[in-house]
Symmetry: C2
Subunit: 217 residues, 2 copies
């Protein structure tokens, strides 16, 4: 049987890009279904009735939602290049950092841009980012995953790429080389990974989108 | 080599109980280190420098933190009774619901009790709980895990047990039989599982704790 694999997504979504990166790392072919976020398809609503959001990966009719859950599924089903470490302890460490990024880091960073760089929001985001900076320093590797990207790098795609566009639109500087040299270098390496570079949405589109989002049109 | 396994916890914590349930399901012996939450040990701070919270499971010197991450680790390392489904799709569904409970349901429920049953908070919690009620209805099984508890039931321990104590302290009724008959029946079944019953902290202690927490002393 040939697998039927469809990804319901939106090119500018950092969550959708996470899934695309994992699929491409493994060389998995899939049908990309681009959603109109302002007019979601009946299929999307059927497949993700709880959150009504992209990404949704539909594998032989079975819908999987939530980007990190989808990536774990991809890694469970398809062998080849691993996205999570194979060792159970290293795997738990990767899950910990991916969760940290989603639960602590990303919300703090978003607050900075929504508040237009309010001091308290900046201080909180700096604190969370410093934890990631320290982790890269302690590891001393090119990526959170070591020599190659893994779940943690993918989970941090927002910091590597989307934040730059937000900084440009809002003129608030957050991840700067003097404060976070390791994160800046990591972001550059991540963005330039072949598999990542081919997936990231054009920067101009993000700029336009964030201008609307932050009311800076 | 004999495994050295220590759990840094706090008996009243719903997160710590999750981990204890998973360990007991597999019949794993461990040393329980009870933390004083108002005066955390140097070991706890060393093992969980990011969140400084229980539970932390330390396996042969390696610390694992975050209750759901710890449970995945336990299931990865020790065979025997599975805590997550073995099938990759069913596994992804379980991860989805555990995440839903932590990200959507629990925060909405906590808001109800912190606001002392404010109408908007109640409406939001009802909406999230209805999603779980519907899931139990569709499944038609005793537990989210089917005939036996799995990751999802364990993740929902807060709803099954802690919420009852909060309802008693605040006199706000949230999970009632007329509104959520399936959830009420599920909670009763869950609490009466042998492995769960032996772990849940005494209700009187929770009542006392929540009286302080809600300022109802």
């Amino acid at each position: 049987m040939t697998d039927e694999l469809k990804l319901y997504g939106y090119a500018r979504s950092l969550y959708v890009c996470r899934v695309k990166i994992a699929l491409d790392m493994k060389g998995i072919k899939y049908e990309n279904v681009e959603e109109d976020i302002s007019n979601k398809s009946a299929d999307l609503l059927k497949y993700n009735p709880v959150h009504k959001k992209v990404p949704v990966l539909v594998h032989n009719g079975n819908p999987i939602t939530e980007s990190l859950v989808i990536i774990e599924y991809i890694d469970d089903v398809w062998k080849g290049v691993p996205v999570l470490p194979q060792d159970p302890y290293e795997k738990s460490v990767a899950r910990f950092w991916a969760k940290f990024i989603d639960d602590k880091c990303a919300p703090a960073v978003i607050k900075v841009f929504l508040s237009n760089g309010e001091q308290q929001a900046l201080a909180e985001a700096f604190e969370q980012l410093q934890i990631l900076e320290n982790e890269l320093k302690v590891k001393g590797t090119k990526f959170f995953g070591g020599d190659n990207i893994n779940l943690v790098d993918i989970a941090a795609d927002f910091l590597a790429y989307w934040v730059g566009a937000l900084e440009e639109v809002t003129e608030v500087k957050l991840i700067t080389e003097d404060k976070f040299p390791k994160l800046v270098k990591w972001a550059e390496n991540f963005i330039n990974c072949k598999v990542v570079k081919e997936i990231l949405p054009p920067r101009e589109g993000l700029i336009e989108y964030f201008k609307k989002w932050t009311g800076k049109e």
